[in-house]
């Protein structure tokens, strides 16, 4: 979002790069990422495996692996730069102002501690009595559709199905009414019919609480239905960002265009040979020169081979990094 944009952002990431030092050399997992989450909106992050989604999330909640290096960039969240504040300040934010729902529901909760105990533990900052905290948890479980929450509070995670455990994680995440909820592929591990229920739940809760959601997924249909803005990532870079309508109807980057074509749901008539994107993502420890998508892009030209395309606004509020896009 350009500076003069009036909407204030809950989260705005500027020029963030993250590298991992591995024995095969330095893996640059994220390179010069710009991303904004306007207040009270849902931003979808689309990206396939290896695009750097999980590194992005770990840097936002600042739980990066030991071998991670952050050479440049800033993450502004409610007035402070998450990369520079102290560990205590960061801890105060985690779970209170910003919380997260992970992908695999079956391994998110501690197997030997009851649900209630875990939900009460994370309210350790509130000065309420144990009974009040317990009541708050019961309310939250009811709001995410867990039947008879009062008695189920003392049960253990393995006594719930995958779908139920994901609802509990959402309840835990929204319990402290954060201003930003990060949903890291929350429905990928669930069946489609269950996924629909969780998406519906997230939409309602967002509307009631007014918090912003950063929704990560590789399922285009879900992103189209749920999100106001869309960010497309490829091999560690944000290649396109804009409103959902712009990105889905007028994709500015060749990768987004091809991705939309590949989604089987968008292919109208039956065809025996489905579109694909041949080739693989480049080795991030020895990056090729120029555009990172060049070896898989059928519109590549000599300029793409040498010059890294800069991040430009090809239309009002629609950003892309591709030489073909109008400045």
């Amino acid at each position: 979002m350009s500076a003069e944009q009036k909407i204030d952002n809950v989260l705005s990431i500027r020029d963030l790069s993250v590298h991992y030092s591995t024995n095969r050399g330095e893996l640059n997992a994220l390179r010069h990422v710009n991303l904004d989450v306007p207040k009270g909106s849902i931003v979808g992050v689309v990206g396939e495996s290896g695009c750097g989604k999980s590194t992005l999330i770990s840097s936002i909640i600042r739980l990066l692996a030991e071998n991670a290096i952050v050479p440049n960039g800033s993450i502004n969240f409610e007035g402070s730069n998450l990369l520079t504040i102290s560990e205590d300040e960061m801890r105060a934010i985690r779970g209170q102002r910003m919380s997260i729902v992970f992908q695999d529901p079956m391994s998110t909760l501690n197997p030997v501690i009851s649900i209630g105990r875990q939900m009460i533990d994370i309210q350790y900052r509130d000065k309420k009595t144990k009974q009040q905290k317990r009541q708050r948890s019961i309310e939250m479980l009811a709001s995410v559709g867990i039947p008879d929450p009062e008695s189920r509070l003392d049960q253990y995670p393995h006594e719930f199905s995958g779908g139920m455990q994901q609802r509990i994680s959402i309840a835990m995440a929204l319990q402290a009414q954060p201003s930003l909820l990060i949903a890291d592929e929350p429905t990928t591990a669930l069946d489609a019919t269950l996924e629909v229920q969780i998406i519906h739940l997230l939409k309602d809760l967002q509307r009631d609480m007014g918090c912003s959601i950063l929704f990560i997924s590789h399922h285009l249909g879900v992103i189209a239905e749920l999100c106001d803005y869309v960010v497309v990532m490829y091999a560690g870079e944000v290649v396109e960002q804009g409103t959902a309508r712009d990105v889905f109807h007028l994709p500015a980057h060749p990768y987004t265009e091809k991705l939309l074509k590949c989604d089987p749901a968008s292919i109208a008539e039956k065809s025996r040979s489905l579109p694909t994107i041949p080739g693989e993502i480049p080795d991030l420890t020895s990056l090729p020169s120029g555009c990172v998508f060049k070896n898989r892009c059928d519109k590549a030209m000599p300029k793409c081979d040498s010059v890294v395309p800069e991040w430009r606004e090809s239309a009002q509020g629609h950003f892309v990094s591709c030489h073909w896009a109008k400045p």
Partner: protein
């Protein structure tokens, strides 16, 4: 839960019976008259006669086995050939010493081993972690009777810090404790290394699991994450290991009791062999086996009780 308990107890009774049968067969497998073999050179005709009658050697094998089991069920492990007192009395007289020794050794090992394991898991690959790693490996591998010999040599014979022999007189509690220090140290040392390596590996395993990442993502303090969320899960395997470890502990106790000339079931077995007092040997081995089976069953049940996932699947 009850069903699991019943199944486990039934299984352990079956194992003890099988062990008894194995012992019985070993006695009878040896060629020649079992009574004569058991009594060895001192076998006077009357002793042979009394032992044969006691073991029912004249009857057919199946009846002998039934008689053998019958006696055991009645707690009658046969007669002590030398003192003519029931074997059960002799064996159960010595048992408490061994139990005290093993109990102190394990407590000592847990008090040092588990925190050490936690510490080196949390400070992975630091210098301290490497040093404790090497030391614990060295402790694990040092044979218990070598450690006993050295502690006897250094702390008792040379430095006279602790008494070298016996278990101290009955009345004086502190005297008994001072007699307990070296033997318990000899047994416990290798367990300190063993438990610290085990807890370290299991902590590292648990710390890398998703639910710990969740706990951190909710800003819980590192102490809560480690000591309430991770440790509770990481300690579970140690319960099973200690349960199964009873076999090794009894073996180590035998050596230590002999080196420190302490009364106990191990020393009893050793002395009865040299004096060819076989009923006592068999009785003591049987009691140790029962002890092992009880401790493994107990550790399984504790594990089932501690870990809700197992408790639910019963």
């Amino acid at each position: 839960m009850g069903l699991y308990f019943l199944k486990r107890v039934a299984l352990s009774i079956l194992i003890v019976m099988l062990a008894v049968t194995l012992l019985f067969c070993m006695i009878h497998m040896v060629p020649g008259d079992p009574a004569r073999i058991l009594l060895g050179p001192r076998a006077t005709p009357e002793l042979i006669a009394s032992l044969s009658a006691q073991m029912g050697l004249d009857q057919s094998l199946p009846i002998q086995i039934v008689k053998f089991f019958g006696n055991i069920l009645r707690g009658d492990l046969g007669m002590d050939v030398i003192t003519n007192r029931p074997v059960a009395a002799t064996v159960f007289g010595q048992l408490p010493y061994t139990l005290w020794l093993i109990f102190t050794a394990i407590i000592f090992a847990m008090l040092i081993g588990i925190p050490l394991g936690c510490y080196s898991a949390l400070h992975r690959n630091t210098l301290i972690d490497r040093i404790t790693g090497v030391i614990s490996v060295a402790c694990i591998t040092a044979p218990s009777f070598v450690v006993a010999l050295y502690s006897l040599l250094i702390f008792a014979v040379t430095l006279h810090w602790f008494p070298a022999v016996g278990a101290g007189d009955k009345g004086d509690f502190w005297d008994q404790v001072s007699h307990l220090v070296l033997p318990a140290f000899a047994i416990g040392l290798s367990w300190v290394g063993y438990l610290s390596r085990l807890v370290r590996a299991s902590m590292l395993e648990v710390m890398s699991e998703n639910h710990i990442r969740t706990a951190r993502a909710y800003g819980l303090s590192e102490n809560t994450v480690v000591y309430r969320y991770a440790l509770k899960l990481a300690v579970l395997p140690t319960v099973t290991v200690i349960g199964v470890g009873m076999g090794f502990l009894l073996s180590a106790a035998l050596f230590t009791e002999i080196v420190f000339a302490r009364p106990g079931i191990g020393k009893l077995i050793f002395d009865s062999i040299t004096t060819r007092n076989y009923p006592v040997v068999m009785g003591s081995v049987l009691v140790s086996t029962i002890l092992f089976v009880v401790s493994t069953t107990l550790s399984d049940l504790i594990n089932a009780w501690l870990d809700p996932r197992i408790r639910a699947s019963l």
